[in-house]
Structures are given as structure tokens and as C-alpha cells.
């Protein structure tokens, strides 16, 4: 199968996958007791049953579940992702407002992961079984094992409260303002640490594997400097697997944004999703879930494509 056909096929699969995600998400939300009107009633106990009924009717919450879903799906296909009932705002407005924040955080986390992982992985592979290798592997294992929320809280404790160098509150400057980088550092490290650790371990094992191959021995026999052997020959071949994994890790960074944004009060989609779940804002839950689904699907597709581009021997059957 050609790469083009493979991409088309994968893109066509996006729709049934998203349909499945939306059905499952919709069903899970419906199975959870309460809806947005319950929130309104809980906060405004004098609301009359008549007003409650009117509100439910207005937002179609009295309709059968299948009917609600079909209505939602029809609206989405028309580009209408629904309304946040508590604030009477269009879901698309919320997405547009918060998406840049999540992208900035995710991008920072991803860059952090790559920048930390590749040199460390190279170093660990070159110093295989030496102290530096053991230390870096221990750090990597810790990075994978430590939960995001705990790491975030520790970074706030140390970076903000003990050292006093970082702010606790999110920035008020535009995302493109240089000062925002400083604000991004702690949440970015938090969201990128697990990915950095995974990448570093893959980089190390990939490099170590390459360095045992015959062409490396041959290169060394030719008298090439070790630096040239490692950085020019070994690294290029090692990066094939690392690059694909880096793309896959985008998915974990997107998913991790939910926890990290909550810990740091970062006003992105992840924090919006937590609030939406708490308030049973089903339209917003579905929209953000779909968005995350699309991001993960595209990341995986990008990984597959990059793998094929980087290694022409790969054929998709």
C-alpha cells in the first residue's frame, strides 16, 4: 500500500473513531447522576419546579437520550457544538478561548521533553553501565513513576514558595509575550517530565542497539572520531524510533493537560474539562473530549507517517 493510500485510509478511520468516542462519552455522562439544571437548582433552591421544567425543555434535557444524542450530532455536523448552560456561552467560544493556552503548554512540555531526553539519552548510551548512565536511568524511572499532580505541587512548593522565583498564578500577559515563558516553566516541566523520561529511555536503548551494529564498528575501524560516529551515524538511525515515539507522546501530553492545568490553575481546555465534568456541562465535555480525540488520532497518524518517511523500508499492508 502506498503511503498516500495509507494516510487516506487512516483519515477516513477518524470519523468512526470520533463517533465511537462521542457515543461512549455521551453515555458515560448520561449514566452519571445530575445534569446542568441540577447545578442551577442546587445553587438557587427557590427556583420553581415550573422554571426547572422550562429550563430542561429549553435545553432538550427532557428528550430521550437517543434523541438528545442525535440532536447533538446534527448540530455538530452543522458546526454548532452547543451551549455552556451555566454561562449561556457557545461551546465553540470556550474552545477558541482556551485552546491557545493548552497548545502553548503542550508545546512547551513537548519541547522540554525532546530537549532533555535526546542529549541525556545519548549521554547514557555512550556511558552505558557507568555512573552517569545509572543516574540518568534512575532519574528517568522516577520521572515516569511520579504522578503529574504530585510533581506539580512539589514544583510549586519549591519553585514558588521556598525559592520564590516562580509565580503561582497564571500569566496575564499574552501568550506570545516573552514573560510567559517564565510562567510556562513549572507546568511545562510537569507535563513534559514523564514524556522526557520515556523518550530518554528509548533514546538510550536505541542508541545502545545501534552502537553494537557492524557499520559502527566499521566506522570506528576507519578511524573516524567517536564524536562523528555517534552524532553523525548512530544518532541519525536512532532517531527513527525516537521520533515516532515523540509523536505518540503528544497524546500523553494532551491527556496530561487535564491534571496539570488543574494543579497550576492554567486556563486551558484541561481545566475547562474538569469544570465541565463537575457541572455536567455535556456539550462542553463532548467538545473537549472530541478535540482531545482528534489530537491523539492525528499525533498517532503523524507518528506513522514520520516512521515511513524516516525509514523507507517500512511498508504498510
Amino acid at each position: 500500500m502506498s503511503l498516500r493510500r495509507f494516510i487516506v485510509k487512516r483519515l477516513l478511520l477518524v470519523f468512526p473513531i470520533l463517533f465511537g468516542v462521542s457515543v461512549i462519552t455521551f453515555a458515560l455522562v448520561q449514566l452519571t447522576p445530575g445534569d446542568p439544571i441540577d447545578v442551577v437548582v442546587a445553587l438557587n433552591p427557590d427556583i420553581s419546579p415550573a422554571e426547572e421544567a422550562r429550563l430542561r425543555a429549553r435545553y432538550g434535557l427532557n428528550d430521550p437520550i437517543w434523541s438528545q444524542y442525535i440532536q447533538w450530532l446534527t448540530d455538530v455536523l452543522r458546526g454548532d457544538f452547543g451551549t455552556v448552560i451555566a454561562t449561556d456561552r457557545a461551546v465553540s467560544d470556550v474552545i477558541v478561548e482556551r485552546l491557545p493556552e493548552t497548545i502553548a503548554l503542550g508545546l512547551f512540555g513537548w519541547v522540554f521533553a525532546v530537549v532533555i531526553a535526546i542529549p541525556t539519552g545519548i549521554y547514557a548510551a555512550v556511558r552505558k553501565d557507568e555512573l552517569g548512565d545509572h543516574v540518568s536511568r534512575f532519574v528517568a524511572l522516577s520521572g515516569i513513576s511520579i504522578p503529574n499532580f504530585w510533581l506539580g505541587l512539589m514544583l510549586i512548593l519549591v519553585g514558588s514558595l521556598i525559592v520564590g522565583a516562580w509565580p503561582v498564578l497564571p500569566p496575564r500577559k499574552p501568550l506570545y509575550h516573552p514573560e510567559t515563558l517564565w510562567y510556562l516553566l513549572l507546568p511545562g516541566i510537569t507535563i513534559g517530565t514523564a514524556s522526557a523520561s520515556t523518550l530518554m529511555r528509548i533514546m538510550r536503548s536505541s542508541m545502545a542497539e545501534e552502537m553494537n551494529k557492524e557499520y559502527v564498528t566499521a566506522a570506528r575501524a576507519k578511524g573516524l572520531p567517536e564524536r562523528t560516529v555517534v552524532l553523525k551515524h548512530v544518532l541519525r538511525n536512532s532517531l527513527i524510533s525516537v521520533t515516532t515515539v515523540a509523536a505518540f507522546l503528544t497524546a500523553s501530553i494532551v491527556a496530561g493537560s487535564v491534571v496539570v492545568e488543574s494543579v497550576f490553575g492554567w486556563p486551558g481546555l484541561g481545566q475547562a474539562l474538569v469544570g465541565a465534568v463537575r457541572n455536567r456541562e455535556i456539550d462542553l465535555i463532548l467538545a473537549i473530549t472530541l478535540f482531545i480525540g482528534v489530537a491523539i488520532i492525528l499525533a498517532n497518524l503523524a507518528a506513522d507517517i514520520m516512521y515511513a518517511v524516516l525509514d523507507p523500508r517500512i511498508r504498510y499492508d
Binding site: 441540577d38 422554571e51 421544567a53 422550562r54 427532557n62 514558595l161 498564578l169 488543574s262
Partner: protein, 657 residues
Amino acid sequence: MTNVPEDVLPDGLSRRRLMQSAAGIAAAAMAGCQGDGGSGGGGGGSIDPVQDRVEVTPSEIQEGGSFRTAVGANPDTFEFAESTSAQASIMHNLIFEGLTTTSASGEIYSWLAESYERVDVQEASPADYTDYMTTAPYAEGEEGAVFIDTDKQIVIQDPDNPDSPSGGDEARILTVDEAADAVADGTYGMHFQFQLHEGVTFHNGEEMTADNVVASYNRLQNSSLSGQVYDSLLHIAADGDYTVDLYAQTPDAAAIRELGEFPIYPSEITDNLELGQMDPRQGNTPLGTGPFQLAEFANEDFVRFTAFEDHWFETGMKDWFDGPSEFPNGPAVDEVDISIIPSDAQRSAALQNDEIDMAFGLTASTLTNYQESDGFRTAPTNGAGYTFMQFPVRQEPWTNAKLRRAVNKLIPRQTISDEIFQGWEKPAWVPLPPLAAGAGSTDYDAMVENLQSYNTYDTEEATQLAQEAVDEMGIETPIEVTLETNSDNDDRVRTVELIAESMNQTEFFDVTVNTKEFLTFISQLLSENYWEEGKLAFIGLSGGFNPHGYAKSVHHPDNFAQCCNFQNIDIQDLNQQLREARYGVDVVEDASLRAERYETVWETILEQNANSYGTHSTLVGVVNDSVKGFNTYPSTQDVVGYAMYNAPDQQVTYLDQ
């Protein structure tokens, strides 16, 4: 509540009570008297809820600076009438003002009104309005919900309307259109007249007149708050440019508290914006007369307010002001900056990191840490919140009051207060918190002394009561009990576990604790079937200065399947006592009589024990050392606005720069 207030339900009247803090002129016993500065009403007088109140010396006040704080939730809307969020109210109270204002102890003072008087009070009931009523059909929605199908705001329904109407039946109703006719004929419960200050300007420069007041009140029609307004309000009308006549449906001792403090808007808002549109997210700036105006709003991020330079108020304008002449005429700070930070831990971290000046809604242990730290001050105030455990009184064996009282005697309130809340919440020895003592008791301390024995921890008496109940009912022990609460409040879960442990230490009970996420729990509690499940429910509720809510919300049939009569409680004697304590010419005109009647209510509640009251809240603001003069208001809704400036209490906060 010391805990984040998201898991505290506001009782049906609290939002109105606390926000508009209207003045119950309960103390104004004669028609025509001035209502300013009356005590909260009872023979006991008002108790200042602010513990260790900090006072400022006017000559030391420093002008300027930005007061930075944080709230736990994005404002749902700046449209007051459509808002159900206490966090949003914090912001509303900086921008908007009402005809009256309230001190921290609940005393009511004229504000935008130069003065007000109760012109008339007379007996009136819904039946008296039937001649003015019109008809509207009942309509049936999905799932069988039946409602009166009209676009008009319903003021009163005919008492003879069917109890269980069907779609297509006719309802007789008094709407806002017919209410004026009733008033014209002299049919009303109470008549108040407000004389407005002249020269009050809105943020847009428009001068406030009586027409603005009427239009602002009319904006409440068919809003999210309409149910809270039109259970009291009958009609409002302008009489010239600076006189407003307001009529209540019945003689109601709490009428002015319920109706006096709704925000007043300029005609730019009332004439041009539909209900719900007064919000920067809709492209519109909220406008009022308040000391601050909205300067910048970043949704989900922060809100910044700047001082309104042309604010109308001067201390010399008010006869009731008895402070020094040097006392400022408005807030000392130039700016209030409110970050939106859902996590209380993050708000606390921001305070420690000097990114905000004040934090509230922190956990008990965090407050204790601040109390013991240099560089910060905790400012505790008796709050309006309380916890309660509601019994399934219609399910065996909980139909037996002795059994309920036995459980009540097993609640270790003092231990809960000391160990779980580290003293930040107080044992609820009586259902009424000190905050509402003025109107709800003749002598609060004496009442507590008299009734406290109902709620003291006593295993011996509990055992005796339980044994008597078991013998009377002929049931086997241990009685299996499910005790439920919300899972997202650690202190509350620990409280419930402690109660369960206390009950399990007797031979009578086998208690299982069941916790649920807040909204899940609430949606079940508010269903019409919860009472049939036979479970005990433990939750928090927020009241106000009006004592009525502390009894009615958790007992009255009107509140069944709403907040907060989950167990279908219907105690006839109590319902009657509640009516007689609040409604009637006699209690309107005699605050002491009203207070006496409430004391009877509290005793009945303790005797029946359909609810066990757990603790009364303390609201605590924590400020850094640069903040001077800060005192905490008893409710979240005005925790910032009150601190910035409250003339009745001579309250002003400034920054030591």
C-alpha cells in the same frame, strides 16, 4: 464554612438576604418611623459577628494601591438576576448598590435611599387577591412536569388551584399586570416608601431616579431569582423622580430584608439589554452606582475593578453615620484585582507568594497554619453556614423522635469542632447561629444555656432514649443505618465518619458511611424519592441574617424536593409556629414578639429532631501584613466589598505601601 464554599448549598433566601441585606425594620415598630440603623430585630439585639474586629485610625489611612484577592470560580454572569453563584456576587457587590445596605451584624441602613419608611401594614393573604386574578392554562412538559403556561411573572397563585393539575387545566393567578390593580384598591400586606438621594450618578454618568429603581426591580421578572423575589414582592412604582413605593404581598417581618437591596441599574442597561445580556462576554459592560466599576475581565482568569471617581456617597449625607468626620467617603484602594483560582491550595500558595493580599475559603488546617505564621493575619467572623444531618422521618424506625434524639446525643459536636475544624467552626448547640441572633432570639446566650442540653454529647442519655425507642417499636438491634454525605469535602467526610463511629460504639446502630460527589449527591437529595430510601443525609447549608431560613429550609413542605427538605418532613405545629413568627401584623410591629416566637420554633425543632444541626461556620479571610483594617463579612457574597468599605460599620481596608 471554612471549607471551600462550593459544597454548601445556599438556602432559598440566603442569597437575597445576604446580598441585599435589606434592613428589616423589625425594630421599627411603628408605621412611619425611619428604618435606619434598626437592630436586627429581637430583644437580644444584634451581635457583631466579626471576632476581634480591627479598627483603623482615619489619619493613618493610606490612599491608593491595588487590593488583590482570588475567588474559586469564574463568575457565571454579571447579570445579577440570572446569577446563582456566590463567587459572582462578590463581584456584583463591588459594582452595584441597592436602596439599603447592611452592617456585618445584619442591621439595615438606607443607602441609595436617603430614607425609607413603612407607611402601612395590614393583614393580607393570597385569598385576598383572588378578585384581581386572571387565568392561564397548565401545560405539561416532558416527563409529566406541569407548569402554568404564561410569559407574565406570576406573583400569587390562587390557593384553590388544583393540587395536582393536569395539562389543559386552568390556573388562577395574579401577575405583575394585575398586582397594580390590587394595590390601587388598597389590597396589599405592606407598603414601604423610599426617598432617593438626589445627584446619585451611575458609572455612565446618568443620574439615578425612581424610574431606574422600578425598571431595575422589573428586570427581576422571570429571572433565575424571580422565585425568591415574587414570594414577597407585590408591586413597585415611582412617585415622581425621587420617591419609590414598594408593596409586599403579606405582612412580613422580613420584607425589607428580602426586598431592599436589589441592584439599581441605569436606563442604558434596562432599556437596551435583554435579561442576561449585561455581561462583558456578551459585549456589554455592567453598570451600577457602586464604588468600583469593571475595568478589565479575562474570562476564567481575572477581573479588575477600578475605583469610581464620581461615587456619590459622603458620610455627612447619612444621619445614622456616627463616625469621625475624617472617616473616608469611600474605599481607600484604587483598584480591586480578583484572580479566578479554583484550587484553594493554589490560592493559599498565591497568598504566601505575595501574589494576592487576601485569601478565603481555606481549610481548617491551613487557617491554623496561617494563624501561627508571622506575616499574616486571620480575620474570623461568625458565618451563615451550618451543617445538618437530616433523618428519614417517614421511614421506620426513624419515625420515632426518641430514636432521632438518641442519635443527636451521639454527635460529638465539641470534638468535631476542636479536632476536625480546629476551632474554626463552632458546635451548633441550637439551630440558630449567633449571626441571626438579633431577630431570632430575645437573649441568645440565655437561649443557648436553656436549650444546649438537647445537643450535648451524652452516651448515657442516648442509650436510654434508644432503648425506649426500640422497646416502643419492638425492633431488633443493631439498626442498619446508611449515612451519606458528599465526598469532595474532607472535613465533612471526617465529621460523618466520627458520627458513625460514635453511633457504632453503641449496641443500637450499625452504620455504613456512603460518600458521593457533590452534584451527584445533590441531584439525589433534590429528587422526589430520596425520602423513601431511609438514609440519613449530612450536608451543609448557608443561611443569612433572617432566622427564618435556618428552620424553614430544612423542615417546611414548601422546600420538599427543593432545598433542603429532602426527607419530606411535615411537622404541622412547626409550620404554624414558623408562620406566626414571621408573618402577621403583630410580629411586624413587635420585634420582641417575633423573637419570642422564634425561640418556640427552635425548641420545637430540637424536640422533634428531624434534623440534627452539627456546626456553625466561621468565615475567615487571611491577609498579609500590608493589608490594614481588613475584617471579614459573614457571608462569601460580600467578603470583598464589605472589607473595602462599609460606612455603617466604619469599615475600610487600606494597603500599607
